[in-house]
């Protein structure tokens, strides 16, 4: 196998005495779409934030295209981050900027494009996620949840990143809008030829956007395989999760 796009080895992260990631290993190949599933609070978001450099892991290595990214300086980190696009759970649009300025943000800041040029691309990307050009003149506070997600998606793909992260892309949306967003994600990732890493606990979304599924439990990847095999994983944890049963080996840990 060629050098994986993202290679994670022995990643450990804890907050105080709470161990969140406990020696996590995961490889993601180029142009692959991997979905990490797992219950709430199992550290899925922490994993993404570690890869993005928003959190510093205590131990372990993360390689992007073979380059070690743990412990980079801010400036080097900024350069690596130009490879990434991210759709945040709450879309995280800048509410002081218009929609088109949000989408164009990375084009201006990272790619040093002129405003006019960035605007043209932004309108194009908005069209790609099914939003008319007039939407570009609105402010994020004037948008519905589904529209915000679309704008967030347009912003994530605007710079044509090699790697796109999706943090619970369908949370808080109705089933139909969820499916629309899923379709858009599949379409955008395919069109860009990008590598995708998503985290979700929505199985419908997972089945739609994944090539490969990895299950995160107690800080480790306990199962990892093609999406077609998820129903015959022979893993009691995975079975319980994908069928959403309260009874099984996974005990919901209610924090005291």
């Amino acid at each position: 196998m060629a050098v994986p796009k993202i290679s994670i080895r022995g990643l450990k992260k804890r907050f105080g005495s709470k161990v969140v990631l406990d020696g996590l290993d995961l490889d993601i190949g180029a142009a692959e779409s991997v979905v990490v599933i797992g219950g709430s609070g199992t550290g899925k978001s922490v994993l993404l934030k570690c890869i993005l450099g928003l959190l510093d892991p205590e131990e372990g290595s993360i390689k992007i295209d073979g380059q070690e990214v743990v412990g980079l300086s801010t400036r080097e980190r900024e350069a690596v981050n130009t490879k990434f696009g991210m759709l945040f759970q709450s879309a995280a649009l800048f509410d002081s900027l218009k929609v088109w300025e949000n989408v164009a943000f990375g084009l201006v800041s990272a790619q040093k494009k002129s405003k006019a040029e960035a605007r043209t691309i932004a309108i194009e990307k908005l069209a790609q996620v099914g939003l008319p050009p007039q939407t570009g003149e609105l402010f994020p506070s004037e948008l519905s949840g589904g529209m915000k997600k679309r704008v967030g998606l347009a912003r994530a793909i605007a710079t044509q990143p090699e790697i796109i992260f999706f943090d619970e892309p369908t949370t808080g949306l109705d089933p139909i809008m969820s499916d629309v967003i899923n379709d858009l994600i599949v379409d955008c990732v395919k069109r860009a030829g990008a590598t995708a890493l998503s985290i979700t606990h929505d199985m419908a979304s997972c089945r739609k956007i994944a090539n490969r599924v990895a299950m995160l439990y107690q800080g480790k990847i306990i199962w990892d395989g093609p999406v077609a095999e998820i129903d015959r994983s022979d893993n009691a944890f995975v079975d319980q999760f994908i069928h959403g049963r309260a009874e099984g080996p996974i005990r919901m840990q209610i924090p005291v």
Binding site: K49, G53, N81, M86, F88, S90, A92, D95, A110
Partner: protein, 258 residues
């Protein structure tokens, strides 16, 4: 629990907080001097701090100057030194009350809004989003506010000084029956460059502190709406306390040189 352990824990937490503020200060300040500069953001913050604070600062300065004249007259009349009223008003205004009053008002107005805005950006992941778009939030959000605070507060204080002295003049001439020309002459006779200058140095330091506290507490806020509320309170309270502490420290500094 062992009371000593408790005391130790509190002390350690306090020292850790001081360390965190110090690191934040150094990082934020260094970004003020390194490109790229976000000129549009700097200008917007300057407008917000310098221009839109004028009514609030002007009103407080006016009434402070007026009450100063009234109170010092009451005192000085007891040993027939009424002629010192104008001097006391101008010296108190420029050296002390102009910067402190303006600082406290701006801390309430601007410090709170900075903490709330940046805090909301933190809890809605907008700061993380800046990172992923290869933009350093320190440079994009914090540096413009620090630059604007440090440069605009002295200008505000110049205005506050003038309005405060004018307030004293109104009370002196229209209520205490001073001769207008004499009052003005007494105002400027004993005023030295150092009086105004030390006030402006104070103002600049206060502006820096207000922006720093607003940004620090906003940047490190967590826990949703409640966390942002807490950040806002902490920003205003800590900025106000620091203003009063630094006010003494800077006065002491200038006092040594007279």
């Amino acid at each position: 629990m062992n009371p000593l352990a408790k005391l130790g824990r509190v002390t350690l937490a306090f020292l850790a907080r001081i360390g965190a503020v110090a690191v934040f200060t150094v990082r934020a300040t260094s970004h003020c001097f390194r490109p790229p500069f976000y000129w549009r953001h700097i200008a917007r913050q300057m407008l917000d701090i310098g221009y839109f604070s004028l009514p609030v600062v002007g009103m407080t300065a006016l009434f402070t100057g007026m009450v100063l004249a009234l109170q010092s007259y009451t005192g000085f009349a007891r040993f027939s030194a009424e002629s010192a009223v104008a001097t006391v008003v101008v010296l108190s205004m420029t050296r002390e009350l102009g910067p402190v009053i303006a600082g406290l008002m701006v801390a309430g107005r601007i410090g709170a809004s900075m903490a709330a805005e940046i805090g909301t950006m933190r809890v809605t992941e907008q700061i993380d989003a800046l990172h992923t778009l290869s933009t350093n939030p320190m440079k994009y959000l914090v540096a413009p506010r620090l630059i604007a605070g440090t440069t605009m507060l002295p200008l505000l204080v110049v205005v506050a000084d003038i309005i405060g002295v004018f307030g004293g003049y109104i009370v002196g001439v229209y209520k205490l029956d001073f001769n207008a020309a004499t009052y003005l002459k007494q105002t400027f006779d004993f005023l030295e460059f150092m009086d105004v200058f030390s006030g402006l140095v104070k103002a600049s330091a206060f502006g820096f502190l207000i922006s720093l506290m607003g940004c620090y507490h906003g940047y490190n806020s967590d826990g949703g709406a409640q966390g942002v509320g807490r950040a806002t309170t902490n920003a205003v309270v800590s900025a106000s306390i620091l203003i009063l502490v630094f006010n003494y420290a800077i006065t002491e500094l200038f006092f040594a040189g007279r």
